[in-house]
C-alpha cells in the first residue's frame, strides 16, 4: 500500500446497525408510543375483522329489528343494540373501517398534494415558491370547517356527475376524502418545502448537479429520500386530524351518510339520546379519542426516533 495512512481505525469490521434498526430501537424505548401503537394495531385488527365477526355471530350491521332496540349487552350482542336493534359492536367495527379508511386515504391524498406542492416550491424557489407559498397562506387563512362544509355541500350533479352516482356511498366517501385533502394539504406542503429547501442546498445535491444531474434526478434521488422523516411524522399526525375532521363533518351533517356507519355519524346519531343511552355516544367518541390520541403518540414517537439530532 502507498505511504499514505488510510486512517481506517474507525471502521469496524462488522457492519453496524442500519439507520432503521437504530430508529426502531429508539422507538421501542418510547413506552407511550409503543403502547399507542399496540392500541392502534389492535383497533385496526378489530375493525378489519368486522366481516368474519358478522358471519360468526350471524349479524348484519344494517338489518334493523324493532323488537331489539336498546338491548343491554348479551351473548350475541356484546355491546348491546342501538336504537334500531342493530349490533353496536359490529357497527363500531364497520364504522372504524370507514373512519380509519377516511383517515388513511385522506392522509395519502393530503400527502400527495402537499409533497408535490412543497417539493415544487422548495426546490425551484423564486417566483414559483413565492406563488405557491402565498397560495398556501391563503388556504391556511381559510376558516377550515366552514369551507369544508361549503365543499361538502357542493352539488356534484352540478359538476356533471349523474344524480345517482353523486349520492352513491362510494362517491360520498371519496368526496369526503377529497375535500379534506383539498384543505388539509398545507401542513405537509409547508413541512415538505422547508425540508426540501434544506436538502436542496446540501452539498451532495450540488455535487450531483455539477456531474450533470437534472432537477428531476435531484428531487427523486436526493430530496425525496431525505425528507421522509418530517413527512412521515406530519402524515402520521394528519391521520388523526382527518379522523377528527370526518367526525366533525358528520356531526354537522356533511359527513359519511347513514346507513354506512362511521364513528362520526354513529356518535351524531347517538347524541340525541345521549341521556338515556349514553353508551351509544360514549363508544364511538371514545374510539375516536383513543385512535387519534394513539396516532398522535405514535407520530411523536416516530419524530423522536427519527430526530437527526439523535442520529449520529
Amino acid at each position: 500500500m502507498s505511504a499514505i495512512d488510510t486512517g481506517l481505525a474507525g471502521i469496524p469490521s462488522a457492519p453496524r446497525q442500519t439507520i432503521w434498526q437504530l430508529r426502531r430501537k429508539r422507538f421501542l424505548r418510547n413506552k407511550p408510543a409503543v403502547i399507542a401503537l399496540a392500541i392502534l394495531v389492535t383497533l385496526t385488527a378489530l375493525c378489519v375483522l368486522a366481516y368474519p365477526y358478522s358471519l360468526l355471530m350471524g349479524l348484519d350491521p344494517n338489518e334493523t329489528n324493532l323488537l331489539m332496540r336498546f338491548r343491554p349487552p348479551t351473548a350475541t350482542h356484546w355491546l348491546g343494540t342501538d336504537s334500531l336493534g342493530r349490533d353496536v359492536l359490529l357497527r363500531l367495527m364497520y364504522g372504524g373501517q370507514v373512519s380509519i379508511a377516511v383517515g388513511v386515504l385522506g392522509t395519502l391524498l393530503t400527502a400527495l398534494i402537499g409533497i408535490l406542492i412543497g417539493v415544487w416550491a422548495g426546490f425551484l424557489g423564486g417566483k414559483v415558491d413565492a406563488f405557491l407559498m402565498r397560495l398556501t397562506d391563503v388556504v391556511i387563512a381559510l376558516p377550515m370547517t366552514p369551507v369544508l362544509i361549503v365543499l361538502g355541500a357542493v352539488d356534484l350533479s352540478k359538476l356533471g356527475l349523474s344524480q345517482a352516482l353523486a349520492s352513491s356511498p362510494g362517491v360520498v366517501f371519496l368526496r369526503i376524502v377529497v375535500i379534506i385533502a383539498l384543505v388539509d394539504w398545507t401542513t405537509i406542503a409547508r413541512i415538505t418545502r422547508a425540508a426540501t429547501i434544506e436538502v436542496r442546498q446540501r452539498e451532495y445535491v450540488k455535487a450531483a448537479t455539477v456531474s450533470g444531474a437534472r432537477h428531476l434526478y435531484n428531487v427523486l434521488v436526493h430530496v425525496l429520500p431525505n425528507i421522509t422523516t418530517p413527512i412521515t411524522v406530519a402524515a402520521t399526525l394528519s391521520v388523526g386530524r382527518i379522523i377528527l375532521f370526518e367526525s366533525t363533518l358528520s356531526f354537522l351533517g356533511f359527513g359519511i351518510v347513514p346507513p354506512t356507519p362511521s364513528w362520526g355519524n354513529m356518535l351524531t346519531n347517538a347524541q340525541e339520546l345521549i341521556i338515556s343511552a349514553p353508551a351509544l355516544a360514549v363508544y364511538p367518541g371514545l374510539l375516536i379519542f383513543l385512535t387519534v390520541i394513539s396516532v398522535n403518540f405514535v407520530g411523536d414517537g416516530i419524530r423522536i426516533a427519527f430526530d437527526p439530532r439523535s442520529e449520529k
Binding site: N62, L66, L67, D155, S167, P258, E272, I275, S276
Partner: protein
C-alpha cells in the same frame, strides 16, 4: 327553578324575517302569533273561532251571504266586526282601514304576501265603520270565514307607498327594520326585544282588550340542535319546548318521559300532520296500483309507531287525521299482511328472484330509490325500518339520505326522485286537499315548481271531489265531500300514508292551561297560559 314572570320556550330555527305575511312558514307562524293575531283561528276542538272579531260570521248566522256577482256567478259577502277596544301596541285602534290596507297590499303582485289564508281570495273590502267591514268573495268557498292577520296601516302604509316592490318593501318594512316597535303588534303580547338568531322576547301588550296574560314575559330561545335543546331543558334553561322537527324529536321526548316522568308535563295529542311516502307515478312499477297496495300491506305501520313512538302517533289510513272533523273512518284500510302483499305482487307479475328481490318477466328488479332528509334521525330510522320490512315482501329500497336543500329542491319539489320519497304534509281544516291531490298541484317547470303533489297524481274523480269540498259551506257537506276524497285516496293510493305526527309539547309542571291544539298555532291563546 322557573322564574315567576318569565317563560322560556325552546326552538330550533330562527325567523327569516319578521313580516307576518311575507314568506310565511310554520316557524314564523308559531312565533308571530304571540303578538299578532289572526282574525280567526281553529280552537282546540277544531272549530273555527273569532280571535280579533266579535262574532264569527257564518251562513247560518247571516254574517256571510251568498250573492250574485255582476257576471251572474255566485260570490259571497262576509261581515266582520273587530272587538271593542282592539288596539295596536302603541295605542292606535285596529280599524277597518287596516284591513283595507292589508288587502290592498296582498293584491299587489309585486309585494308577494304568502299567508296561509290569503287575503287575495277577497275581491273587495268594504268599510262599514271604524270596526266593521265586509269582505267580498268572487266565488263560494268553504274557507270564507278563515282570515289571517292584518297589519297596521298607520305604520306600514307610508313605507308601502314608498317601496312598491318586494325587494325594497321587505327591506324597508318596520317588521324587519324595527320588529320591536309595539305599534306593529296587536296580540296579548308585543314583540319587545330580540337578538338575531338567539332569542325573541315578548312582553305584555297593555292595550290588549282580552284577558291580561298571566305570564309577564315569554322568551323564545334558539338552540341549533336537538341535543343542545334537550340539555337546555334538563338544565332548566328552557321551560317549554315543542316536539317536532322544529324542537326535540319525538323519541327524545319519550326518553325524557322515561327518565323524568315527574319533572315535566308531557302534552301529547293526535295531530294532523301526515308522514307519508310520495311515490313517483311516472315509475311504471309504482304506477301499478297493485304494487302500491302491496307496499301498503308490507309496511307494518302499527309496529313502527309502537316501537318508535310507543304507539303515541296514530298509524294513518288516509290523509285526514282521526281528530279531524272530516275524518272518514270507513275508508279501505291496508292492514299489515305480507302474504297478501306478495300475492298482490304476484298478480302484478312480480315474483321473487334469486336474491330474494322480485323480478318481472322483463327481468326488471322491484327496486326503488327511497329518499329521506339526512340529519333527521327519526326519518332516517323510519327509512331503515321500512327498508327491512319491504325486503320481506321482496321489494328492495335503496336508501338515499340527502341534505335538506337537495331534498326540498331537487328531490321533492322538482320531483327528482325516481321511486319513493318520505315527506310530511299538513291539512288544516281550512286547507283544501287540492294542495297535494289536485292534478293542478303537480309541481312543474310551468308552475314554477309549486304544489305538493309530488307523486304526480292526476284523477278527474279526485279533482271533482276536491272542488266539491272547496265549495261547501256547511260542515256536513264538507264532511261528505272530504269523506269522498278520502275514499278515492284510499282506493287510488296516490301516496302511502304512514302515521300522523302527534302534536306534543314538554313543559315544566308550573305551566298551566297550556292548550296545545293540533289545528292551529297555540300561541294564539298564549294569554291563557299560567305559571305558578
Amino acid at each position: 327553578q322557573a322564574d315567576d314572570e318569565q317563560l322560556v320556550l325552546g326552538a330550533r330555527q330562527f325567523l327569516t324575517n319578521f313580516h307576518p305575511l311575507v314568506q310565511v312558514n310554520n316557524t314564523k307562524r308559531n312565533l308571530i302569533n304571540f303578538s299578532l293575531r289572526p282574525l280567526t283561528a281553529f280552537y282546540l276542538d277544531g272549530n273555527n273561532v273569532c280571535v280579533l272579531c266579535e262574532e264569527l260570521p257564518t251562513v247560518e248566522n247571516g254574517g256571510a251571504k251568498i250573492v250574485e256577482n255582476a257576471d251572474g256567478s255566485k260570490g259571497m259577502e262576509v261581515t266582520f266586526k273587530f272587538k271593542e277596544g282592539l288596539s295596536w301596541g302603541d295605542g292606535t285602534p285596529v280599524t277597518s282601514d287596516d284591513v283595507v290596507f292589508t288587502w290592498e297590499m296582498a293584491n299587489d303582485p309585486n309585494i308577494g304576501f304568502s299567508n296561509y289564508n290569503p287575503w287575495t281570495r277577497a275581491s273587495d273590502v268594504e268599510v262599514i265603520d271604524e270596526r266593521t267591514f265586509v269582505i267580498h268573495l268572487p266565488e263560494v268557498m268553504q274557507s270564507y270565514n278563515s282570515w289571517d292577520q292584518v297589519i297596521p296601516a298607520h305604520l306600514e302604509r307610508p313605507i308601502y307607498e314608498a317601496n312598491k316592490d318586494l325587494e325594497s318593501y321587505t327591506r324597508q318594512t318596520l317588521y324587519n327594520r324595527e320588529p320591536d316597535n309595539p305599534g306593529l303588534w296587536n296580540g296579548s303580547y308585543v314583540l319587545s326585544d330580540y337578538a338575531v338568531g338567539q332569542r325573541v322576547g315578548f312582553g305584555v301588550n297593555p292595550h290588549w282588550p282580552g284577558k291580561t296574560p298571566d305570564i309577564e314575559r315569554i322568551v323564545v330561545s334558539y338552540r341549533d340542535n336537538s341535543s343542545a335543546l334537550l340539555q337546555a331543558v334538563l338544565a332548566d334553561e328552557i321551560e317549554t319546548i315543542v316536539v317536532s322537527p322544529g324542537g326535540i324529536s319525538f323519541e327524545q321526548m319519550l326518553e325524557l318521559r322515561k327518565q323524568h316522568p315527574d319533572r315535566f308535563q308531557f302534552f301529547v295529542r293526535d295531530g294532523t300532520n301526515l308522514e307519508r311516502i310520495a311515490v313517483n307515478l311516472d315509475n311504471p312499477a309504482l304506477a301499478d296500483l297493485k304494487v302500491r297496495q302491496a307496499l301498503m300491506h308490507g309496511i307494518d305501520r302499527q309496529a313502527i309507531t309502537d316501537a318508535l313512538f310507543e304507539g303515541l302517533q296514530a298509524a294513518a289510513h288516509t290523509f285526514e287525521s282521526p281528530v279531524s272533523p272530516y275524518y272518514n273512518p270507513d275508508v279501505r284500510k291496508y292492514e299489515f299482511d305480507p302474504e297478501k302483499a306478495k300475492q298482490l305482487l304476484a298478480e302484478a307479475d312480480w315474483t321473487p328472484g334469486p336474491d330474494g328481490i322480485c323480478v318481472n318477466d322483463n327481468g326488471d328488479r322491484l327496486s326503488f330509490e327511497f329518499v329521506t332528509t339526512a340529519g333527521n334521525t327519526t326519518r332516517e330510522q323510519l327509512a331503515l325500518v321500512i327498508q327491512s320490512q319491504l325486503k320481506d315482501i321482496c321489494v328492495e329500497t335503496q336508501n338515499k339520505f340527502v341534505g335538506l336543500q337537495e331534498y326540498n329542491g331537487e328531490y321533492a319539489r322538482k320531483r327528482g326522485f325516481s321511486g319513493m320519497i318520505l315527506s310530511s304534509i299538513q291539512f288544516s281544516p281550512s286547507t283544501s286537499p287540492r294542495i297535494a291531490l289536485g292534478s293542478d298541484a303537480i309541481p312543474t317547470e310551468e308552475n314554477a315548481w309549486v304544489g305538493n303533489n309530488f307523486s304526480g297524481y292526476a284523477s278527474e274523480h279526485m279533482d271533482e271531489a276536491v272542488a266539491g269540498f272547496e265549495q261547501s259551506l256547511e260542515e256536513t257537506e264538507k264532511a261528505k265531500y272530504s269523506g269522498q276524497v278520502q275514499e278515492i285516496f284510499a282506493e287510488d293510493l296516490p301516496m302511502l300514508p304512514l302515521y300522523f305526527y302527534a302534536a306534543a309539547y314538554v313543559a315544566i309542571p308550573q305551566v298551566g292551561n297550556f292548550n296545545s291544539t293540533p289545528f292551529d298555532v297555540n300561541a294564539i291563546w298564549a294569554e291563557e297560559w299560567t305559571l305558578n
